[in-house]
């Protein structure tokens, strides 16, 4: 989808550094791997076949009477599509969690969501909102132009979004349900397009939906994917900073801003540095490929192709759903440490382990005062100090923990990249390393998912006496940022691909001399 639509701009951006001007070798684009064909020209990770980690909302949210049936539909749809296309199943669950919580909060956040869904649906080329909502619920009248249902994402964003503003939020539910049934019956390419579009629900709208901000107009160029991940995040952070600066006197002072927190944990810097390494490595691979010919070239291409495959076939073991009540902290650290060892480079999971511990300490801090809490009336200032933990505090802890764990994950990948490029690794191939890194990515995403479950469970307990419009956006926010966190981690993982390719080329060169 948008990845494919802007190859020229992507390329342009990437060559900005030291990339030689030669066109990439032709055979790169005719490699038959269905979704990898543009990855050689695109340092921003391709995200089509990657699977999303499982993330189900806690029962408190999911089983609300008004959402249960829809969630079930979505779940049926996703399980069916899993058969035909592995990647869809897990995304279905992310979508589902987003969906069921979002439905509960339509009053505040629905507007933003409906626009995004409409956007996703537009790029899929499925029926216009008008037809959909008529089909789902007769009461809905949307005036979005049906002409926009072409797969056109470049132009007309303004129109589409503008008209979507007028849509009633309850239609969002209907549309996404139909969306999954459309996806189910269409081809692979559409599905990958759909994945891309759905990813946008997480990536570009995190603030909007999380904060229930109806002033969506400022997020113009919603589908503009020519920017790098760190730019997207930096923009988010800057927007939050601006908001914070503008609102210092209001009660939003303590509001949790993922982007700002992520930056405070130096996540942005590590990401930027990782992007630099990735870009430079990519340029290096390209220039090496242009100097080779014949058998050498074919052999190297085959090797690189295999490495690439490890980056697209990530397996999330869906059977193994962590019990959120069990603190598997030791397991997490051990699993990571063992995996890192297999990379044969000197790096530890110490900081990640600490981030995880901090998150669990925050959860414990929340739990103790809550259980002792007797009468959680409307949280006035005084009570907040007595009971120690308000829903806002819990939300802040959750977002902080997600931001910290994500920042540390990206730091870990950055350190791995540095070590891969600047130390000689013996006894392990780049291909094996790629598989280990994929495994690490899974571990990290699972952890993010697990954290979001724990935090939302806490939120639900603490806020059991809160009004829905107070509690639900907070819970939705946590799930969204968790979904984003997993995306960032996976994107950072993709940035490692050129780095491993260079490492492979170096090792091969070393051994042949």
């Amino acid at each position: 989808m948008s990845d494919n639509e802007h190859p020229a701009t992507d390329l342009q951006e990437n060559v900005e550094g030291h990339v030689p001007k030669e066109p990439p070798p032709a055979s790169h684009s005719d490699s038959s791997h269905d979704t990898q064909s543009d990855s050689s020209a695109d340092v921003t990770p391709t995200r089509k076949t990657r699977k999303r980690p499982e993330n189900k909302p806690p029962p408190e949210v999911q089983e609300r009477p008004e959402t249960a049936s829809e969630a079930e539909n979505a779940s049926k749809a996703s399980s069916q599509t899993t058969v035909s296309q592995g990647g869809w199943g897990s995304w279905g669950s992310w979508g589902k969690s987003l969906l069921s919580t979002a439905t509960a909060t339509v009053a505040t956040v629905g507007q933003g969501l409906s626009q995004v869904i409409e956007k996703a649906e537009t790029s899929l080329g499925i029926p216009s909102p008008t037809e959909l909502s008529a089909q789902m619920e007769k009461e809905e009248e949307a005036d979005a132009p049906s002409s926009s249902s072409e797969g056109n994402t470049g132009e007309g964003d303004g129109n589409v979004l503008g008209s979507a503003m007028g849509m009633l939020s309850s239609s969002s539910m209907g549309m996404l349900s139909s969306l999954s049934s459309v996806v189910q019956s269409t081809s692979k390419t559409v599905i990958s397009g759909g994945l891309d579009a759905l990813e946008f629900i997480g990536k570009k709208t995190m603030d909007v939906i999380a904060e229930g901000d109806p002033g969506f107009k400022k997020t113009k160029g919603l589908m503009n994917r020519t920017s790098t991940l760190s730019q997207v995040l930096r923009e988010a952070k800057e927007r939050e900073e601006r908001q914070t600066a503008e609102n210092v006197t209001s009660e939003t002072e303590k509001k949790a801003h993922y982007g700002m927190l992520f930056d405070e944990f130096q996540g942005l810097s590590h990401l930027e540095a990782l992007e630099i390494l990735s870009r430079e490595s990519e340029a290096k691979v390209k220039s090496v490929l242009t100097t080779l010919s014949g058998e050498e070239l074919t052999a190297l291409r085959d090797d690189l192709e295999q490495i690439k495959e490890s980056f697209s076939l990530m397996e999330f073991d869906e059977e193994e759903v962590d019990d959120p009540e069990v603190d598997a902290g030791e397991d997490f650290l051990k699993e990571l440490t063992d995996a890192l060892k297999k990379l044969h480079i000197s790096t530890t999971a110490e900081r990640l382990g600490k981030a995880r511990k901090n998150a669990f300490d925050r959860i414990m801090d929340m739990k103790i005062p809550t259980e002792a809490k007797q009468q959680p009336e409307e949280g006035s200032e005084q009570e907040a100090t007595v009971t120690k933990c308000t829903v806002e505090d819990a939300h802040f802890s959750a977002i902080t923990s997600l931001a910290e764990l994500t920042a540390r994950s990206i730091e870990q990948f950055h350190k791995v990249a540095e070590m891969l490029l600047h130390s000689t690794t013996e006894g392990v191939t780049a291909l094996e390393q790629a598989k280990v890194l994929a495994q690490i990515t899974v571990v990290l995403c699972k952890e993010v998912s697990m954290l979001s479950k724990k935090f939302t469970a806490c939120l639900a307990t603490i806020g059991s006496n809160e009004k829905g419009e107070v509690l639900n956006p907070l819970i939705t926010g946590v799930f969204l940022e968790a979904s984003n966190s997993a995306s960032y981690i996976q994107d950072a993982f993709q940035l490692l691909m050129p780095v491993l390719e260079v490492s492979h080329i170096q090792t091969t060169a070393d051994s042949s001399h």
Binding site: V248, M260, L421, S423
Partner: protein, 213 residues
Amino acid sequence: MEAIWLYQFRLIVIGDSTVGKSCLIRRFTEGRFAQVSDPTVGVDFFSRLVEIEPGKRIKLQIWDTAGQERFRSITRAYYRNSVGGLLLFDITNRRSFQNVHEWLEEARSHVQPHNIVFLLVGHKCDLEPQRQVSQQEAEKLAVAYGMRYVETSARDAINVERAFTELTRDIFELVKRGDITIQEGWEGVKSGFVPNVVHSSEEVTKSDRRCLC
């Protein structure tokens, strides 16, 4: 409130390995001295707010680079997006002082088309008995390259604040004069956000609100 700062400056800290770059930065950002520290891998990041005038805060984003030769090629990529830098040598290690010239050359060749404001730092000044580089000598070199010179000790917390603050002030003056400008696609200087409503008279007043264009 953390979000309220006038500018963000990105600083890079360079110099031979083991001169104490990370220790100096940690003292500055974390207020403590690490007795043992592992060699930096590639680059690490720290940040801190500095108040250069009452109510005027600058956020420093500090890129702590590895001194080891093997990481040199990584470090090179980071000069371009820095507005300032601390160039460290160890006053008890003559070799690290002799390499100052080389570091400057390297920085200058990779920073194009921008400029970096450097501050020369003679580190570990608590180890006076082992001194191998005299203060006059270092000052002379600094003048020759148009830099300030400061002697610091992370262990005894000598001049650490001063080193960073003076560099920040110098850059701030250049920004105010328009010699350094904020540019799209350059991370050296970023403008922060000033609140619409201010709490006290000491806070940034309306007239101080900068136009971001």
